[in-house]
Subunit: 222 residues, 2 copies
C-alpha cells in the first residue's frame, strides 16, 4: 500500500479487472491469481499486482485474490457503489444515441438531462430523458445535482460548452467533439476522439504491408 499518485492507465486497468472478476464470480470461481488475470487480457502479472497493491494488500501469498472481496474493493475504489448524475449537451445523433446507451447504467451513471439550443427539439423526449433548453443549464445542473457532463456538440461549439460546464461547478467531463479542449486543472476532462482514431487506423492501412507493427494490442497504445 502506497499513497502515490495513481495514473489514469492504472484506473483504466482497474475497470478491466473488475469486469473480469464479475464474470469469474458469475462462473462460481472464488479465487484468482494475478497470473490468471494477466493471461486473460495480454498483460504482465506484475503489473496487475502493482495496480492492486496501490490500494492495499488484497492478496494472499501462495493463493491469490479472493474474488468477492476484491470485487467489493474495486467497486468501491472506482466509486461505482455511488450513483452519478449525468447530463448530455447536444441532442444530435450522437447525443441521443448516448442518452440511452446501456453502458451508463452499468457504471452506475444516470442520464437525467439532455440539453440543446434548437427550439424544435426542446421538450421532446429521448427514452425517459427530456430535452431541455441550454439557456436553463446552470439552474438545472444545480436543481438536479448533476456531477458529470457529456459534450456531444460540433467541434466549433465544444469549448463554449465546456466553459458553461465549468462555470456550473461540474468537475468531470467527457468530450466527444474532435477538438482539444482547454480545461482548468481542477476539472477532469476525458476526450474520446473518433476522428483521430480513424485517421490513425488509416495511417496503418497506408503502410507497406511488411512493416506491420510489432506489439499488437499491448494495451498501452490502444
Amino acid at each position: 500500500m502506497k499513497s502515490e499518485k495513481i495514473s489514469e492507465l492504472t484506473t483504466n486497468r482497474l475497470s478491466v479487472y473488475l469486469r473480469s472478476l464479475n464474470e469469474l464470480a458469475g462462473k462460481g470461481s472464488t479465487t484468482v491469481s494475478s497470473r490468471a488475470l494477466a493471461d486473460q487480457f495480454h498483460l504482465n502479472s506484475a503489473q496487475i499486482r502493482k495496480d492492486l497493491a496501490y490500494f492495499g494488500e488484497f492478496g494472499v501469498r501462495g493463493v491469490g485474490y479472493k474474488i468477492d472481496t476484491l470485487r467489493e474493493h474495486l467497486t468501491h475504489i472506482l466509486g461505482l457503489d455511488k450513483e452519478h448524475r449525468v447530463c448530455i449537451i447536444g441532442a444530435g445523433r450522437l447525443g441521443t444515441a448516448l442518452a440511452d446507451y446501456y453502458g451508463f447504467r452499468e457504471a452506475n451513471f444516470t442520464v437525467v438531462a439532455l440539453f440543446d439550443s434548437d427550439v424544435k427539439k426542446i421538450g421532446k423526449k429521448v427514452g425517459n430523458v427530456g430535452i431541455i433548453d441550454i439557456k436553463n443549464f446552470a439552474a438545472v445542473i444545480k436543481r438536479d445535482k448533476i456531477e458529470v457532463a457529456v459534450i456531444a456538440v460540433p467541434a466549433a461549439n465544444a469549448q463554449n460548452a465546456l466553459e458553461k460546464v465549468m462555470r456550473s461547478g461540474i468537475k468531470a467531463v467527457m468530450n466527444f467533439a474532435p477538438v482539444a479542449l482547454k480545461a482548468t486543472k481542477d476539472v477532469k476532462l476525458k476526450t474520446i476522439d473518433l476522428t483521430t482514431s480513424l485517421e490513425s487506423l488509416s495511417y496503418f492501412l497506408a503502410q507497406p504491408v511488411n512493416q506491420l507493427k510489432p506489439k499488437s494490442g499491448s494495451g498501452r497504445n490502444q
Copy 2:
C-alpha cells in the same frame, strides 16, 4: 528524417496537427511555427518538430512550416487521400448511429455495409446503407473490397465477430465492445471502451477533492 518505428501516439498527434492546419488554411495563414501549433493544444514544440521530422524535413529554419505543403504531406502520410471502405457489424443502437456518423466521411471512410444476424433487421436501410445477413459476411467483404471493420456487437459476441473479420482478411478493426479482444499481430485493433472511460471518471469523482490530478489534459492520458 529517420526510419524508425512510428508510435501510435505520434500518429494520433499527426491527426490533430492536420486538423489544426486545415483550420489555419481556412483562415488564410500560409506558414506556422511549431511553437504556434504547440500553444494551440497544450503540447511541447519539440515534440511537434520530432513528430514531423520522422517523415522528412518539412520545415524552414527561421520561418516555420508552410501550411499548404505540410497539409498535403500529412494527408498523404495518414492515408487520407485514399478512400477506405468500411463495414459495421451489429445494427443495434450504436451500429446504426455510427452508420451515418459524419466523422467517417471526413477521414475518407465510406460505410458500405451493416451486418446483423436478426432477420427482422435484414434488408432494412440506415441512410444509404443496407443491413445484410451476417451469414454473407465473407462474400460481401470480398465483393465490396472492404478493408475496415467496426465491431458494434455486445461484449459476449465481440471475439466471435473479430474471428470472422480476421478470417475474411481484413487487417484494420475498430472495436466498441467493452472487452479486451485478442487479435493476431498482423491485424490493427483499436478498442474504444466507453465503460472503462466512464469508470475512470467515476474514480476521479470518488477521490477527496484536494488531491486533484496535476497534469490536466497532457495528451498522454486522455
